[in-house]
């Protein structure tokens, strides 16, 4: 795998305060990497330095072997913080403007990205009329316009409904399969672990951990395991209503053809009778994966960011 992005000893100081402090990592082609940290940890500042919007106090960024800022940035698609647009232009015209700025992007590529992000039907509407979720989708479409080698997304799930989040997750996974490197920031570990095999954890400007999601997970006993189930149904809203009543069912999310949720292993046998009694018609109830209890993973994340005073760098 070739290196797409190299971040070397990157620091940004505002007066005496270090917003980003000696951060180094590399991203390889086709990798999907989560960038985790609480609000104000330095994620966005790091991303802005990678995008050439903020000049680092020290350190360097190389994209495809070239220092940033340079024309190498044309190979990067970015959505930093909430995506912004000209409200008086339509979604399609905003993409046309971005395409002209990039240069060499065809009209068919604009239509392709609108289709991919589910915005084709609303492409002619002015952005001022868009919901937050639609803006997120259009932002993603714009980031994809130039067929980037590196896609950098800052909190892309903000404002999306559960269905949108599920779709976004699938889309991000598919980018990795296409050889696109995806770098996604979030402050929610449970969100990132669903699509990113590798995570970087940052807090107070310092990179605390660079490891695979698997390594990050604590070894859990069989009793503490949760199972993720996928329910295939045409009546997702009714199923959602029934399952929501059960306190032990967590992480309920609408998928394209049903629902996904987490259930403690010990309570899994109750699912089918519960759905039948609730009058939910379903075609399949399938255990998707077995993972460590979410509470364990979240507490480890909190432990990592809480322990950073002693960490001082990548573990």
């Amino acid at each position: 795998m070739s290196v797409v992005l190299e971040v070397n000893h990157l620091s940004k100081k505002y007066g005496t305060r270090a917003a980003v402090d000696d951060v180094s990592f590399t991203l390889n082609s086709g990798e999907v990497v989560g960038f985790l940290g609480p609000n104000g940890a330095g994620k966005t500042t790091t991303m802005r330095m990678i995008a050439g919007l903020i000049s680092p106090t020290s350190g360097s960024v190389k994209l495809l072997g070239k220092s940033v800022p340079s024309d190498a940035l044309k190979h990067m698609g970015a959505m930093i913080e909430e995506p912004s647009f000209y409200p008086y232009l339509s979604g399609r015209d905003n993409l046309r403007y971005a395409a002209k700025l990039h240069g060499g992007i065809s009209e068919s590529r604009i239509e392709e990205t609108l289709l991919l992000t589910g915005m084709k039907a609303r492409g002619a509407d002015r952005v001022a009329k868009y919901s937050q979720g639609m803006r997120q989708r259009l932002g993603l479409a714009r980031a994809l316009l130039s067929s980037p080698k590196l896609l950098m997304l800052d909190e892309p799930a903000n404002g999306l409904d559960p269905e949108g989040i599920a779709e976004l997750r699938e889309v991000i996974k598919s980018f990795g399969d296409q050889g696109i490197t995806v770098f996604v920031s979030s402050h929610i570990l449970s969100e990132v672990e669903k699509f990113a095999p590798r995570v970087l954890i940052i807090n107070k400007g310092k990179l605390l951990r660079d490891s695979s999601t698997h390594d990050l997970r604590p070894s859990a006993g069989v009793d503490s395991l949760d199972s993720t189930y996928h329910l295939e149904t045409t009546d997702a809203s009714k199923a959602l209503e029934v399952l929501r009543r059960e306190p032990y069912i967590q992480s309920l999310e609408l998928m394209q053809n049903g629902l996904s949720f987490r259930v403690p292993k010990a309570a899994a046998y109750r699912l089918a009778p519960l759905l039948v009694q609730g009058g939910v018609m379903f075609t399949q109830l399938k255990r998707h994966e077995q993972i460590g209890a979410s509470s364990d993973l979240e507490s480890l994340y909190l432990e990592v960011i809480g322990d950073q005073g002693n960490a001082g760098g990548v573990k």
Binding site: R48, G52, P69, L73, A78, Y86, L89, S146
Partner: protein, 308 residues
């Protein structure tokens, strides 16, 4: 670079305010003058007040193709110079901050100098098209008015007119650079408008006042000397000011009025005539101001972090 200019022009095409300005300069302004000419013709022409050819001359100064085109450059444009620069500056620079678009633009095109140059060229194209709309509108409406007897021909000093129009367009680069700079420095569009429209006159007013305050108390002995000193000083100083050097088109009107004999009672400092040495001085002075504004803008634009 061409694609970036294309992107900015595409955006401008979709902005209603530029069409409003084009319509104002190209249609509304000449139309108002034609209506005025028609009103004068119907109410005064052939009456006892119409002595000699005064009314015909006056109408010709208002409503011939040349007069309408000239009045666009020399009449309406001077009033709108700084507001136009502010509007274009805010559209191309200030709004990128308001709409948080810099992050999108500078990732797509990381060469900040190229981005700035493309925006500046677009700004000049927008201003040029507004001037052109004024000229074309004047000529077309003037031509339409010929059969109605408002004018007899397309006659006029077109050579000087086109040269002045071109120089006026060049001179507009200075207020445009100021518009860019103020829009870049002030986050609020309202502050930017005030900054571009009011700030230069305010500074010049303060400087002028400081000259007046330095004069000694007037006495019977120094009164003539003081008045002469004040006149000389003001004339000398204002040559170097920003705003008095921006308006070239007004000289076309002054010259026309002098040629027709209608401007004999208007002082030359109120409606100056075509004096080419003064015109070239103004072009040079505006150029120096433009370069200073552009240099500050380039330095700030290249070095500032984008946090929006």
């Amino acid at each position: 670079m061409l694609e970036m200019i294309g992107a900015e022009v595409f955006k401008a095409f979709k902005k209603k305010r530029f069409w409003v300005l084009i319509i104002l300069f190209g249609i509304i302004a000449p139309l108002i003058q034609l209506v005025t000419a028609g009103f004068v013709t119907s109410r005064v022409s052939g009456t006892v007040a119409d002595t000699g050819d005064a009314v015909a001359k006056a109408i010709s100064e208002i409503a011939s193709p040349y007069s309408l085109a000239r009045n666009g450059i020399g009449g309406l444009l001077p009033l709108m110079l700084l507001p136009l620069a502010a509007v274009v500056g805010i559209f191309l620079v200030g709004e990128e901050r308001t709409f948080k678009m810099w992050k999108t633009i500078l990732v797509a095109n990381p060469d900040r100098m190229r981005v700035l140059a493309a925006k500046f060229i677009t700004g000049m194209l927008i201003l040029g098209s507004i001037i052109l709309a004024g000229i074309l509108g004047g000529v077309v409406f003037g031509a339409i008015a010929i059969p109605f007897g408002f004018a007899s021909s397309f006659a006029g000093d077109w050579g000087s007119f086109f040269l002045i129009a071109f120089l006026q367009w060049l001179v507009l680069a200075a207020p445009l650079a100021l518009g860019f700079l103020i829009s870049w420095l002030f986050a609020s569009p309202a502050l930017a408008v005030i900054g571009v429209v009011v700030l230069p006159s305010l500074i010049e007013g303060i400087l002028t006042a400081s000259i007046v305050f330095q004069l000694n108390r007037v006495s019977p002995l120094n009164a003539a000397f003081q008045a002469d000193r004040l006149r000389q000083t003001l004339e000398e100083w204002t040559r170097f000011f920003f705003t008095p050097n921006l308006n070239l088109g007004q000289r076309l009107i002054g010259q026309s009025l002098q040629n027709s004999g209608l401007g004999e009672f208007i002082p030359s400092n109120v409606l100056p005539v075509l004096e080419w040495d003064k015109i070239w001085w103004s072009v040079g002075a505006a150029g120096v101001y433009g370069l200073v504004f552009a240099a500050i803008m380039v330095w700030s634009f290249r070095t500032r972090d984008i946090h929006e």
